[in-house]
């Protein structure tokens, strides 16, 4: 039953990657923006939550809840003041700007928090596990996966059943015509990035509670997240979950064979999907 255990652990790990990726997927789907600072923003949010816990003595959940509006504001501001100015047909300017932000953010965090590994303390929950008969699963991975599902259901609800979501989709289809309908694409983009940062905070909470983190780990999270988004297909949030699960399972399987192969196996799964389906598994929109 080792393979079943590996499969289950992999799927649950995929939940974490889907959380990393959900915000990216939303932003990428709406404005084709490649935010290379996404991973570093997750790490930044993790430090924000950690500060709430250590400085204010809050529980991690409350700290994350407080960090969410702050991160929303940060995302809104980032989009309105910086990213909106470089969005356009050419993908190079936003790519370069977010790369610059990524390096600046990494080194800013290094200056502020040093290179030491940190962790958000969660007490008894940390080692807790649940015996499901055939397999035993950790409570924390299970909660991560459940949170990913909740986040995706919520984002999908927003996307498909609200006026704001309508504006998101319309702007994504055709920003000029959306403007003729009274929708300001730049404002829509700012709100979308703000929402993405709320999801990033949730991802950061689990990142920080499950494992050690330091200022340098952002880019690797960005790659996992992007792989999940691309595997899933542009604009499909459930596809992003599927992408996260594929990477998670591949990593778990790789690690089961040889612990050094964990990350490698995830990347190879991504490359394989890209070779077979260059537009991802469930592409919604055309890019």
């Amino acid at each position: 039953m080792i393979w079943l255990d590996t499969l289950v652990q992999g799927i649950l790990l995929g939940g974490l990657y889907a959380l990393f990726a959900a915000g990216l997927s939303l932003v990428f789907g709406i404005m084709r923006l490649v935010n290379l600072a996404h991973g570093d923003l997750i790490v930044f949010a993790a430090y924000l939550v950690l500060m709430g816990v250590t400085l204010l003595g809050l529980s991690p959940w409350v700290a994350a809840l407080i960090a969410m509006p702050a991160m929303f504001a940060l995302g809104w501001l980032l989009q309105a003041a910086v990213l909106n100015r470089v969005l356009g047909k050419d993908i190079l300017p936003p790519l370069l700007v977010t790369f610059g932000l990524s390096v600046a953010l990494q080194n800013g965090l290094l200056e502020a928090f040093s290179a030491d590994s940190r962790r958000i303390p969660v007490g008894a929950l940390e080692g807790a596990s649940l015996d499901l008969g055939l397999v035993t699963v950790g409570v924390m991975p299970l909660m991560t996966f459940a949170s990913a599902i909740v986040a995706i259901v919520a984002l999908n609800g927003l996307f498909y059943h609200t006026a704001l979501g309508r504006a998101f989709r319309a702007t994504s289809d055709d920003a000029v015509t959306a403007g003729l309908m009274g929708i300001e694409p730049k404002r829509v983009f700012a709100v979308a990035t703000g929402i993405a940062m709320v999801v990033v905070t949730l991802a950061a909470l689990y990142l920080g509670m499950r494992a050690n983190f330091d200022p340098s780990i952002g880019p690797a999270r960005l790659i996992y997240a992007f792989e999940a988004v691309i595997i899933g297909g542009l604009g499909s949030l459930w596809g992003t979950l599927a992408g996260g699960i594929i990477i998670g399972v591949a990593q778990a399987a790789g690690a089961a064979v040889n612990p050094e192969w964990q990350i490698l196996a995830g990347h190879i799964a991504f490359l394989a999907v890209m070779l077979l389906k260059p537009r991802g598994l469930f592409p919604r929109a055309v890019d």
Binding site: R169, L180, M181, G182, A285
Partner: protein, 234 residues
């Protein structure tokens, strides 16, 4: 005056498209702008709706300069557009396409989802379909309905008959009197001279970025229109 352009000029890079265009639209009026391909009609619409930004004073809405405002602001002032080529949102259903037309401007008026469905009953049947899965004529109905949803004081229609079968064009034009009854002024941009003259109170003819004729349909001869349209006597 509801809308006015004053010496409106526009260019794409180094290419001039409009050279000092003056038009006026009174409240409740139906205006037709006719002209051949490349006459500058669509550029005029794009300038009025803020897709192309101009000097503020080149476009006036109730006397206020709006030439430099973005599209979204223009819509909120009650000027709605049926763009050339319909431009429905592909990821939105018919109903969502209609709803999005009305969500940015909260103005009271006769138009609602139900009123649009009454105007174009076929859309009620197709409301769950993706907007782009419809026939060209039905898509045009959605585009008109979408613009009406904001209860505009001025409805700009850019080439609403282009590429449609005559019988379909007839259906769409049949809806225009009901739009007028609701009090909205209409600007029809048309290549079809006959259609335009039949419904408009006044007609502007454009050629090569300039207005070449302003007249009431009843007071103008066929020859005058032709020479203004083609630049040669017919």
């Amino acid at each position: 005056m509801l809308l006015e352009t004053r010496a409106l000029t526009a260019n794409y890079g180094q290419f001039g498209a409009l050279f000092g265009v003056d038009i006026t639209v009174a409240a409740g009026e139906c205006l037709a702008i006719i002209g051949a391909n490349g006459a500058g009609k669509s550029t005029l619409m794009r300038s009025i709706t803020g897709v192309i930004r101009n000097e503020p004073g080149m476009v006036l809405h109730k006397g206020e300069p709006i030439g430099a405002l973005p599209s979204a602001e223009i819509l909120k002032r009650g000027i709605a557009m049926v763009p050339e080529g319909r431009r429905l949102f592909a990821s939105l259903s018919v109903e969502e396409n209609l709803l999005i037309g009305g969500q940015a401007r909260k103005a009271s008026g006769p138009w609602s989802l139900e009123a649009v469905y009454d105007l174009f009953p076929i859309l009620r049947e197709r409301r769950k379909n993706p907007g782009t899965a419809l026939s060209g004529g039905q898509q045009q109905m959605v585009a008109i309905g979408r613009a009406l949803m904001s209860n505009p004081e001025l409805l700009l229609c850019d080439e609403i008959s282009l590429g449609l079968a005559p019988v379909v064009i007839r259906d769409i034009y049949a809806a225009l009197p009901k739009v007028r009854q609701s009090g909205a002024a209409i600007v029809l941009v048309e290549q079809d001279i006959g259609k335009a003259l039949a419904v408009a109170d006044r007609v502007y003819c454009m050629m090569e970025g300039r207005v070449t004729l302003v007249a009431k349909p009843a007071e103008v001869t066929r020859e005058e229109v032709h020479s203004a349209y083609f630049g040669v006597a017919a």
